[in-house]
């Protein structure tokens, strides 16, 4: 005899009464460590047992870097158009709509000004969740305008890159954003305003070939993938096995393209320490 017997056949629970398991209560890191979502947030979105830096977006970075999570967002309403009427297996305009609905974001970068350890800082932070953090016209324009804000108000500029590269659906318009943002960074450099570039996982393609590598200091999060051509492309093109740790932040540091690697918990302190040192201002403990 069975222990349990179903008296009525089929599923009787109405959809409205269905009990859902809340999503995102737990996080499992790639090494299999499990952490409670709340604890993860308290720990700067780093898995406490293995120090794995979870991919986060502009919301989280702003909360980590700006005092009391207070900031003024710049150009929040800038949105992509579809100037080329680009269509592959999907229309670009549909992709944009879907990405906006899914992420609640307008495009792949958010820019803001606020106080970090009591002093103003302009931050442009990319969101990988929005079409792979790809750089199109809006990303280029928002970064350019954020740099303009830095220039006008003489506030240090920080770029947080997290991107697969240029946005193919805007073709050469995307490509020219490399030149647009770099021209602005040249102006920032002439004005001697500090520029900190933080490379997070992943920073590849057009992002690496422009602002991500042009900081007064380039820094990165542990384990982040940083490179120009992605590992798959390099493997296909060369037919060679890739060396261990190829294109990780540690590899890029070793080859001389980063100033240091920074744990997320120390990010705010270290960035501001650099600013205090390089501008010869009193150290904010």
């Amino acid at each position: 005899m069975a222990w349990f017997k179903r008296k009525e056949k089929g599923i009787q629970t109405k959809t409205e009464e269905k009990k859902d398991t809340p999503k995102g209560l737990w996080y499992k890191s790639p090494t299999g460590k499990i952490v409670e979502a709340e604890e993860l947030a308290k720990n700067f979105y780093v898995s406490p047992e293995d120090d794995y830096h979870v991919r986060i977006g502009s919301n989280e970075y702003f909360s980590i870097l700006f005092d009391d999570n207070k900031f003024k967002e710049l150009d929040a309403n800038l949105m992509s158009k579809d100037p080329l009427k680009f269509e592959d297996t999907k229309k670009y305009s549909d992709r944009l709509k879907q990405a906006q609905e899914k992420t609640g974001l307008k495009d792949a970068v958010r820019t803001a000004v606020g106080k970090s350890k009591g002093k103003k800082l302009v931050i442009a932070c990319m969101d990988f969740a929005f079409i792979g953090g790809s750089m199109g016209s809006v990303v280029g324009e928002k970064i350019a305008r954020a740099i303009d804000y830095s220039l006008k108000n003489k506030i240090p500029f920080m770029m947080i890159s997290k991107s697969g590269g240029a946005r193919m659906m805007e073709a050469a318009l995307s490509l020219m954003q490399l030149a647009k943002t770099s021209a602005k960074l040249a102006q920032l450099a002439e004005a001697k305003i500090p520029y900190i570039s933080l490379c997070t996982d992943p920073t590849t393609g057009g992002t690496t070939a422009s602002y991500a590598m042009l900081g007064d200091i380039n820094i990165a999060e542990p384990g982040a993938l940083i490179g120009f051509a992605g590992p798959r492309v390099v493997k296909e093109a060369t037919g060679k096995d890739l060396p261990d740790g190829f294109q990780t932040a540690e590899f890029v540091l070793e080859h001389g393209f980063l100033d240091f690697i920074i744990h997320r918990r120390d990010l705010k302190d270290r960035v501001n320490l650099y600013i205090d040192l390089v501008t010869n201002q009193p150290y904010r403990a």
């Binding site: 016209s137 280029g140 946005r167 050469a172 318009l173 690496t208 490179g227």
Partner: protein, 317 residues
């Protein structure tokens, strides 16, 4: 002479014309009229084919094996005055990136450009026109030298992309290109850029920021090659024609989008069908633009260059 698939009707007529001429010279039959007729038909066919080229056909033409390459232009423009300069002073001399000084008339120019090979051996030697970081750094060294001495810069671009190699990554391919782009936006001498073949993405832009950017008629310039675009977005190599259309990568499209300044017409049948005429057109365009740019002060030059790039992009809100 090599023919592309869509050029086959031309090949047929050219063969007919050759035969006609042979008959004319080897026998007493008067074939003058017949030859003339074939010649006219050949010309009409060429016009018809080249008038309606698709984006993909232009990509094919830009890669035509008989097309003139950077060194061919250098030879035609500068002759014996060309002095090639080598090395990035760091790692090595990149054979995919050419650079040096030369004169057109009384004016010295610094010329840089990517170089492809014309047979298997030289293609390998030139790494198929794909530069490594040291190539971009060599180009930057030469541009800085030009700036120091007030010499205008000419950049000739024909590359399937920056080389995606292991050592290229180790030596900072991204950083090298980024640095070039930044420095070119503020270089205090006139920079005239010409896409003479393929203009693939960061590999092209890494020597492609200029006061005037021109494209030869049958070239392409975009963020990715149609093949790679097809493989990423369609997940198959089969959609390169659609990708070429979608990317709006032809000279005409690029001009319309205001991403390049000028289109240089090629002779009927493409740059390779009449090399001398192509060289003349390129030289004329370079000199015309240089004559305009030399009137500007270094500050005006840099400001208007930066303004030009600041305008690029389409968005709302």
């Amino acid at each position: 002479m090599e023919y592309l698939d869509f050029e086959l009707p031309i090949k047929e007529l050219e063969e007919q014309l050759d035969k006609c001429k042979v008959i004319g010279s080897e026998s007493d039959i008067d074939v003058t009229d017949t030859c003339k007729q074939i010649e006219k038909k050949l010309n009409d066919t060429k016009k018809e084919i080249y008038k309606n080229l698709t984006a993909w056909q232009r990509v094919q033409l830009s890669r035509h094996p008989s097309r003139p390459y950077t060194l061919d232009y250098i030879k035609a423009l500068f002759g014996d005055t060309f002095l090639e300069l080598h090395g990035d002073r760091n790692v090595k001399d990149d054979k995919a990136m050419i650079g040096g000084l030369g004169k057109i008339g009384d004016q010295s120019f610094m010329v840089i450009g990517t170089q492809k090979g014309y047979n298997t051996k030289t293609r390998q030697y030139r790494n198929f026109g794909m530069a490594n970081p040291e190539g971009y750094r060599k180009a930057l060294r030469l541009m800085k030298m030009a700036e120091k001495f007030g010499i205008p810069v000419i950049s000739l671009i024909d590359t399937p992309g920056a080389y995606p190699g292991i050592e290229a990554e180790e030596r900072g391919q991204g950083e090298a290109i980024a640095r070039n782009i930044l420095e070119m936006t503020r270089l205090k001498v006139p920079v005239v850029v010409m896409i003479i073949g393929e203009g693939a993405s960061g590999g092209a832009l890494g020597i492609g920021v200029g006061d005037k950017v021109m494209m030869l008629e049958n070239t392409w310039y975009s963020v990715i090659s149609p093949e790679s675009c097809s493989s990423i977005l369609w997940r198959s190599w089969e959609y390169k024609e659609q990708a070429a259309e979608a990317l709006k990568l032809t000279a005409k499209d690029m001009k319309k989008l205001k991403l390049v300044d000028e289109i240089i017409k090629e002779p009927l049948g493409g740059a390779h069908s009449n090399r001398e005429a192509t060289y003349k057109a390129v030289e004329k365009a370079i000199l015309k633009n240089y004559d305009e740019l030399k009137k500007l002060s270094p500050e005006e030059l840099v400001n208007s260059r930066m303004d030009k790039y600041a305008e690029m992009g389409v968005y709302k809100g």
